[in-house]
């Protein structure tokens, strides 16, 4: 067994040596490099360390968050290194880094003010230290590219030389941040700091954690959600080669062995008797019936938005259009399956894992192990995909529970793909009924929607809903941008036993699809061009309108297309940003959809890293095309039917259409980027499919509706 001292050496080597972003902030501090503040460390050789508190999972925020600090710091970007803020230091230092969760497309939106302030504060302290050293007024000194210059005398010094003195100064209480027009680092397509390690195969994901003396655990949870372990006979596998222990816990069984394959195979042979609980007979058909009943129910329905009198306006309408839309449960299907490595020794807990919320991982480890927060160390590994799945701490809880049964031994819990697919927190299933009344000119005078869907906030977070409304369930309906005088939006919360959670873009992954397709149905009924129809309903000042116009222009909306090629369009707000998509495609007689191009416009307010935004939009297209063509989780006998990529297909490289990103930032606000890109894709494609085939797609996935991707 390793001693704690050895262990520390090992774990810092694991963290520090391998890649950017996996080193310990506390280690740097021990080396004596002056920390100007929690976010900025300047080394004597002029290298600058900028700390990053949230998680990097390919969304690029580690780079763009550092750009915000660097902008105000006036440092030389080529000398910047980004590293994770440490959760243990976070606890000891009074939560100096604020929120550590990388969720809700909010890294930039929620931290931009304090990150820019941190950069400015550090710069002022460095300049002040230099001015004091020279005995000149600090107002005569300025900083640029790590160099501080005294204007009148032309004397120069560097950040590294004055850092030690600056670290001793008191932070200025008020700082003035730059005007957007003066930005030099924000808005630049700076290369992502995490990419070199990724493309060189040096990135270390949670699954790659290696700790000396480590053993491996395979876990099985009850296949029926809500079920428990009834009994099992551990002796059946105890003598198998390499098997060390069988750990029964209330809701799962873990087999621990000297390597993971042996653990997994032993688990496969282990006769576990489950108590399936009351959900053992539930099927997708039953769940759909439950939602359908919600559409017609007179009770347990709340009004999410009421404007004017939709019922009365409907009765006086020249034409009434009705439609029902459906979206299925979806799994996150991160390439890296869930898992975590944990060690409990001498009252200290170490966890190595990929998490979207390192602080939540820290809290979970402390609570499950029963140790004080100060005794927990979370070693943050790169995430092999997050998409909302890795905000949950279920796998960390399991790793710590198994480690608790084997004190002193590091245990790596790793799920199989099958376990991962069948024990997710799924994107909610949703059934929505729309009804609109058009006046004689074809314009909508009344709009009614009723959403029958589970509530993530009520069932996963178990938070109280304000007036019974889950904002995610009615997102983009209750706050739709179109000028329609009479609107009534209802929400029938129906919670089947399938656990739901935050799947990238959440409510905006499904509701804009429905809304923007239904708007298209109205335009079609009115005999109007879907782009012009939307424009006539969008106020001149709306951001949806400006991004719609920019996207339509870039796509040459209205221009002639080759025979058989048709266009579809959509627009929406999501996570504080605005997107529009124009899809161009053809549909063959047998339903093969050949997407010629997607023009994806986005207005994120300020564009911190344009290159990353383009990449996020392209990645969003991959993710959403996969979901809309093949994505579906179905339930039989209480359990998920899909298990691996053979029955839960991903889009392949050759199937990827051309994506042209129209980055049209209008400034003045900070929108999200990780999630908004998905929101307008499905409706634009489905509207183009209608234009090409005359068939409305009111239910996803497309492969269930007779369509294939070319």
């Amino acid at each position: 067994m390793t001693t704690r001292r050895d262990f520390l050496k090992i774990s810092t080597a694991v963290g520090g040596g391998l890649s950017l972003g996996i080193s310990f902030s506390t280690v740097e501090a021990q080396k004596g490099a002056p920390e100007i503040n929690a976010w900025v460390v300047v080394q004597p050789d002029d290298r600058v360390i900028i700390r990053y508190a949230r998680s990097e999972m390919g969304q690029g925020s580690m780079t763009s968050a550092a750009q915000l600090v660097a902008e105000e710091l006036e440092c030389d970007w080529s000398k910047v290194r980004v590293e994770y803020a440490d959760t243990n230091a976070q606890v000891l230092r009074k939560r100096a880094w604020g929120d550590m969760a990388a969720v809700g497309s909010r890294t930039i939106r929620q931290s931009q003010q304090y990150l820019r302030t941190a950069g400015a504060t550090a710069r002022i302290m460095l300049v002040t230290a230099a001015a004091k050293g020279w005995g000149v007024p600090e107002g005569e000194c300025s900083a640029a590219n790590n160099v501080i210059t005294h204007g009148p005398s032309g004397r120069k010094t560097s950040f590294g030389k004055v850092a030690a003195a600056a670290a001793k100064l008191e932070a200025p209480r008020e700082v003035k941040l730059k005007d957007a027009k003066d930005w030099k680092v924000i808005g630049k397509p700076i290369q992502r700091v995490d990419i070199p390690a990724t493309v060189m195969g040096q990135q270390r994901y949670g699954i790659d954690a290696q700790v000396p003396g480590m053993v491996y655990a395979a876990v099985a949870q009850c296949p029926v959600f809500g079920g428990k372990v009834k009994s099992f006979d551990g002796s059946k596998v105890a003598k198998r080669r390499g098997v060390l222990q069988v750990v029964p816990l209330e809701d799962f069984v873990a087999v621990v062995a000297d390597n993971w394959w042996r653990a997994k195979e032993a688990l496969r042979q282990l006769p576990v008797v489950w108590d399936y609980g009351p959900a053992a007979t539930v099927s997708s058909e039953g769940i759909l019936q439950q939602l359908r009943a919600g559409l017609d129910a007179q009770s347990e329905v709340v009004t999410a938005k009421k404007q004017g009198d939709a019922a009365q306006a409907m009765s006086g309408a020249a034409k009434v259009i009705e439609a029902e839309y459906f979206t299925p449960y979806l799994a996150h299907a991160t390439l890296e399956p869930q898992g975590a490595t944990a060690l409990i020794k001498d009252g200290r807990v170490d966890v190595w894992t990929s998490t979207q919320n390192a602080e939540g991982t820290h809290a979970t480890a402390a609570a499950v192990a029963g140790v004080p927060l100060e005794n927990v160390f979370v070693h943050r590994m790169q995430l092999g995909g997050g998409f909302g799945r890795r905000g949950a701490q279920d796998y960390t809880r399991q790793a710590v529970l198994v480690a608790k049964a084997m004190p002193g031994t590091p245990v790596k819990v790793l799920w199989t793909r099958e376990e991962d697919t069948q024990h997710d927190f799924y994107r909610p299933i949703s059934l929505v009924r729309f009804k609109a009344g058009l006046d004689a000119s074809g314009m909508p005078v009344a709009w009614q929607s009723r959403v029958a869907a589970p509530s993530i906030i009520a069932t996963l977070l178990k938070l109280p809903l304000k007036e019974g409304i889950d904002p995610q369930a009615v997102a983009s309906f209750a706050d739709q941008p179109y000028t329609i005088p009479n609107v009534n939006i209802e929400y029938a919360q129906r919670n089947p036993h399938v656990p739901v959670g935050f799947w990238r873009t959440v409510g905006h992954s499904q509701n804009p699809y429905m809304r923007e397709c239904f708007i298209d149905e109205l335009a079609s009924a009115a005999g109007k061009d879907p782009y012009e129809y939307r424009l006539s309903l969008l106020p001149a000042s709306s951001k949806e309108r400006s991004i719609l116009e920019a996207t339509a222009k870039a796509a040459n909306w209205g221009s002639a297309l080759p025979a058989g090629v048709h266009r579809g369009i959509a627009t929406t707000e999501a996570y504080g940003s605005y997107t529009s998509v124009v899809a161009e495609l053809s549909v063959s007689a047998v339903g093969v959809v050949d997407i010629k191009r997607l023009v994806l416009g986005v207005d994120p307010g300020y564009a911190v890293n344009p290159d990353n935004i383009v990449a996020q939009m392209q990645g969003s297209a991959v993710f959403m095309l996969t979901a809309m063509f093949w994505g579906e989780i179905t339930v039989k006998e209480g359990r998920v039917e899909q298990s691996n990529f053979h029955d839960q297909r991903m889009m392949r490289l050759r199937e990827m259409p051309r994506v042209e990103v129209v980055l049209a930032p209008t400034g003045g606000f900070w929108g999200g980027i990780g999630e908004p890109g998905q929101a307008s894709i499905a409706p634009a494609i489905c509207n183009a499919i209608f234009a090409a085939s005359g068939k409305r797609v009111r239910s996803l996935p497309l492969t269930k509706q007779g369509f294939e991707l070319a």
């Binding site: 009074k94 969760a101 969720v103 809700g104 304090y114 941190a118 602080e359 949950a392 938070l463 935050f502």
Partner: protein, 150 residues
């Protein structure tokens, strides 16, 4: 580290940003006023009550809580009830524990559900009619792809 020191900034934004202090965060929350709504207007004094909650919780579904009240627990001088109040839960009064001298010690250990980061108030009602209180803050680190919670 002292709990108080940790709590001083735990609920605000990072220090460097000169962000919200704890007082600002809780500016709309007055534990004394909340206590008075339960005590029938009697001001509760600080002390005698010890309230333990984790400083950080991954979620608010089941947060362990311990309350201990200094009292001889005799027929003449004992704790009559212990109440747990929440700043943010829809039910402000989360729990009432009735005690008597036969309880021996005035200690409660339980779990509560919390609707997000907040301050929790523990109140003890003594047989002599006096009220005592203690508060504790807990940060719930919600991993939610939404705005406006947590």
């Amino acid at each position: 580290m002292k709990r108080r020191a940790f709590l001083a900034t735990v609920v605000g934004l990072p220090l460097v940003a000169q962000a919200q202090s704890r007082d600002e965060y809780f500016s709309s929350f007055n534990p004394d006023a909340l206590a008075k709504s339960v005590t029938g207007g009697v001001a509760a004094r600080r002390g005698r009550v010890k309230l333990e909650l984790p400083l950080l919780a991954d979620n608010g579904n089941s947060v362990p809580v311990k309350i201990a009240v200094q009292s001889p627990m005799t027929p003449a001088d004992h704790v009559r009830s212990i109440r747990l109040l929440s700043e943010r839960n829809p039910e402000r009064e989360m729990a009432v524990f009735h005690l008597g001298p036969r309880a021996g010690v005035a200690e409660i250990s339980s779990r509560v559900r919390l609707a997000g980061s907040q301050r929790v108030v523990a109140l003890a009602e003594m047989s002599g009619g006096s009220w005592w209180m203690e508060t504790a803050d807990v940060v719930v680190t919600l991993s939610a792809c939404i705005d406006g919670t947590g």
